[in-house]
C-alpha cells in the first residue's frame, strides 16, 4: 500500500493504474462520426437474470439466503424478461434505433427468444457477465474470473452465432485484472468506464480493447433507484445531457458519444415507457445524431482517430 504522502503516478500514462492513459478533452484531435454527425447515440438495454440465492462467497447487490429468500427483488428483475423488454423493443422500433443489448449469460440461455428478437432487429448483443446477482470483483480468484468471462462470452456466442465484441460488467464491477482478461478472451470494446464523452484506447498486453463510454449519469437505475427520481426526471436528465454534449460537440467541431442505459425491469414498466419515447423523440429530432451500436462506434473510432 502506498504511504500517506506517496504519489502513485505512472509516468507514461499519468494514471495510478495501468489500463489507460490520461487525455484532456481539448487536446484531442477533432473528428466527426459518419455523415458528419456530432453525437453517436448508443442505447444499451440490460437483459438480466438473477440467482435467487447466490452461491457462497458471491459478491452482489441483492442479499438473499435459503432461509430468507429475496423473492421480491428477484421477481421484480425477471419482469424485464417477461414483459419489460418488449416495450423497449417497441419504442426502439418506432424510432428505427438498433440497440446494443447487454445480456447476462444466464438470460441468454433461459430466454433465447429475447436474443432472437434482438437479432431480427439488427441489434448487437454484448456480454454482461453471467448473473446480475454475481459481480466481478477483486475477490474473485484469477481462474474464476477468467472462467466467468469465458462463460459469458460463450453463452452469447452460442445464441447469436458469433462471439460478442463488447463487454459490460454486472454492477460496473471489475478486478485489477479485468481489462487484460477481456482482451485475452477476444473482446474488442469495453463499456465499463464512465469517465469520458469519447471513446479511448485501453492499454492491454494482447489484442485490442477500446473503451466506449456507458453512462452513470443518464442511467435509469442510478436516477430512479439510487437517486429516487421519477421517470420524467430521468427523461429531463437525458434530454439536458444530450443538449449539453451536442452543444459541446458543435463548439469543438468534434464527435462525442451518448449512452442511454435502460433496464427492462425499470423503464420497461408501464408507468415509465413513454418517457423513453420522449427521450428518443427529442434526441432524434436533431441533425447530426448517429444512432449506432457499440461495435460500430468502436470500429469507427479505431479507424479514424
Amino acid at each position: 500500500m502506498p504511504g500517506q504522502l506517496e504519489r502513485v503516478i505512472r509516468p507514461s500514462t499519468r494514471m495510478d493504474q495501468k489500463w489507460y492513459s490520461f487525455s484532456a478533452f481539448p487536446a484531442r484531435k477533432p473528428f466527426k462520426w459518419p455523415g458528419n454527425a456530432s453525437v453517436a447515440l448508443w442505447v444499451v438495454p440490460s437483459v438480466e437474470f438473477m440467482e435467487l440465492v447466490p452461491a457462497a462467497g458471491t459478491f452482489g447487490p441483492m442479499p438473499s439466503s435459503t432461509d430468507a429468500p429475496n423473492v421480491r427483488n428477484w421477481s421484480h428483475r425477471d419482469y424485464g424478461n417477461r414483459v419489460g423488454i418488449w416495450r423497449i423493443m417497441d419504442v426502439l422500433d418506432k424510432h428505427s434505433v438498433r440497440a446494443t443489448a447487454a445480456v447476462n449469460a444466464s438470460a441468454a440461455e433461459r430466454y433465447p427468444l429475447v436474443v432472437e428478437e434482438s437479432l431480427k432487429r439488427g441489434w448487437e448483443v454484448m456480454a454482461h457477465g453471467e448473473f446480475a446477482s454475481s459481480w466481478v470483483t477483486e475477490r474473485l480468484p484469477l481462474d474464476d474470473e477468467r472462467a466467468l468471462i469465458a462463460r459469458s462470452r460463450d453463452a452469447i456466442a452460442r445464441v447469436t452465432g458469433a462471439p460478442p465484441a463488447g463487454w459490460l460488467s454486472p454492477g460496473l464491477s471489475e478486478s485489477t485484472r479485468t481489462p487484460g482478461l477481456l482482451a485475452e478472451a477476444g473482446f474488442t470494446y469495453l463499456a465499463d468506464f464512465v469517465n469520458d464523452d469519447q471513446p479511448f484506447r485501453m492499454d492491454v498486453p494482447s489484442g485490442r480493447l477500446t473503451a466506449v463510454p456507458y453512462s452513470i449519469e443518464v442511467n435509469d437505475e442510478v436516477v430512479i433507484v439510487q437517486r429516487n427520481r421519477t421517470a420524467w426526471e430521468f427523461a429531463q436528465t437525458a434530454m439536458d445531457h444530450f443538449d449539453a454534449i451536442y452543444a459541446d460537440a458543435q463548439a469543438a467541431g468534434t464527435g462525442v458519444v451518448m449512452c442511454l442505459p435502460l433496464h427492462a425491469y425499470l423503464t420497461g414498466q408501464p408507468l415509465r415507457i413513454k418517457y423513453v419515447d420522449q427521450i428518443l423523440t427529442h434526441i432524434l429530432g436533431y441533425d447530426g445524431v448517429w444512432p449506432a451500436t457499440g461495435s460500430e462506434i468502436a470500429s469507427y473510432h479505431d479507424t479514424h482517430c
Binding site: 438473499s64 432461509d67 421480491r72 421477481s75 428483475r77 417477461r82 440461455e109 429516487n228 408507468l271
Partner: protein, 337 residues
C-alpha cells in the same frame, strides 16, 4: 449496471449476513417462461381492457416484536421505536376510515392486504369491511413477524391461523396471500396451494396472472404492485403524493392502451397511514377519478380476477407454457423456490 437501493430493499443489506451454505446458486423454477408477446390474448368478462384492484394494507406493527435474526423490524432505535410505531398506528385510528370513504365514493370493494391481528385488536374494522363486501388477502398476522426462517410446520400453522381468524370475523375465506413485509420461505407457494388459497402476490414479474408450479393443487400469481405502491414510492423513496398520483395515471394509460389487444391487471397498493394522511388523499382521489372516467375498466377484487383466470385461462396457459419451454436443462431449477 445493476444495484438495489433502499427504495426497494431498505433493510436487507443491514440485517442479512451471508448465510447461504451452498456452493451452487439456487435458481427457481416456479413458473414457465411465456413472455407477453407469445401468450394467447386474455379477454375479461365484459371485454374490459383493465381489471383494476385496489389493495389497502391494513396492518399492525408491534411495539415490541419478537426477534428475527434475518431482519430488524425497527432498525431506527432500540425497540420500541414509537415514532414509526405511531406513524403506522395512524392508519387504523384515522387513515383506514378515510380510505373507506374514498373507496366507497368510487364503489371500489377493496382487496384488503390484511394483518389478521387487526381484526382481533379492532373488530370494528372487520365489521366495516364486511358491510362493504370487501375481499380479504392475507398479509399474515403482524407485519413485524417475518416468515424468514420459518419451518414448514410453523408456516402451515400460520396459514391455518390466518384462515381461521378471517373466517371467524367475516364468514369469508381469505382469497390470496402476500407475505408479511414481503417475506416468504421456499415452501410458501406449496403451502398456500395445500390450503386452497387461490393466488399469491409476492411475485412482481408480470402484468397478468400466471400459473405457479406447486407440488400439489393449483396456484396462480396475480399482479400486485411493487411500483404503484405508496410504501415504496412515498415512504422509502420520498416522492410526493402528487408524484404518486401521476405515476398511477401513467401506469393506467399504458396498461389501458395495451389492454385493447389483451387484458391487463392493475393494482394500486396503498397504506392508509401514508396515502390517506391528510396531505395526500386528494391526489389519489384525482387519480381514481381519472381512471373511472374511462370505459372498459373492470372495478374488481383480486379474488374475482383469480376466479376469472382459473375459469378461462389456467389450463390453456399451463399448456402453452409447457410447449413454450426453451430452457437449457442444465439451468433448470435446483429445487425449492
Amino acid at each position: 449496471m445493476c444495484a438495489t437501493k433502499a427504495g426497494f430493499a431498505p433493510f436487507w443489506r443491514r440485517e442479512m449476513g451471508p448465510s447461504h451454505d451452498k456452493r451452487t446458486p439456487m435458481i427457481p423454477d416456479r413458473y414457465d417462461y411465456l413472455p407477453m408477446p407469445t401468450r394467447p390474448p386474455l379477454k375479461l368478462p365484459n371485454g374490459e381492457r383493465v381489471a383494476l384492484w385496489v389493495s389497502p394494507n391494513v396492518e399492525f406493527y408491534e411495539y415490541l416484536p419478537p426477534e428475527n435474526k434475518y431482519r430488524d423490524p425497527w432498525p431506527r432505535t432500540p425497540h420500541p421505536d414509537i415514532m414509526n410505531y405511531a406513524h403506522r398506528d395512524y392508519g387504523n385510528r384515522r387513515g383506514v376510515w378515510r380510505c373507506f370513504d374514498l373507496l366507497d365514493k368510487y364503489k371500489i370493494r377493496g382487496t384488503v392486504s390484511l394483518n389478521v391481528a387487526v381484526f382481533d385488536h379492532y373488530p370494528e374494522i372487520a365489521r366495516a369491511m364486511v358491510e362493504r363486501g370487501w375481499d380479504y388477502m392475507s398479509h399474515a398476522i403482524y407485519n413485524t413477524r417475518f416468515n424468514f426462517g420459518m419451518t414448514e410446520d410453523e408456516e402451515r400453522a400460520q396459514i391455518q391461523d390466518v384462515l381461521e381468524t378471517v373466517k371467524r370475523h367475516t364468514g369469508r375465506i381469505v382469497s390470496g396471500w402476500l407475505g408479511p413485509a414481503l417475506t416468504t420461505t421456499l415452501n410458501t407457494p406449496d403451502l398456500l396451494a395445500e390450503a386452497d388459497i387461490k393466488y399469491w402476490v409476492d411475485y412482481f414479474h408480470d402484468d397478468q396472472p400466471f400459473p405457479v408450479k406447486v407440488r400439489s393443487g393449483r396456484l396462480i400469481s396475480v399482479p400486485y404492485s411493487i411500483e404503484i405502491n405508496d410504501a415504496g414510492v412515498i415512504n422509502a423513496q420520498g416522492h410526493t403524493a402528487e408524484t404518486f398520483g401521476r405515476m398511477i395515471r401513467d401506469q393506467f394509460d399504458q396498461l389501458y392502451a395495451e389492454g385493447r389487444d389483451s387484458a391487463r391487471v392493475m393494482c394500486i397498493a396503498l397504506h392508509p397511514f401514508l396515502m390517506h394522511a391528510p396531505s395526500r388523499q386528494k391526489y389519489l382521489d384525482e387519480a381514481l377519478s381519472y381512471i373511472f372516467s374511462h370505459g372498459g375498466v373492470w372495478n374488481t377484487t383480486a379474488g374475482e380476477i383469480a376466479d376469472w383466470y382459473y375459469e378461462e385461462y389456467y389450463d390453456a396457459i399451463v399448456a402453452a407454457g409447457e410447449r413454450g419451454r426453451v430452457l437449457d436443462p442444465s439451468l433448470q431449477g435446483s429445487g425449492g423456490l
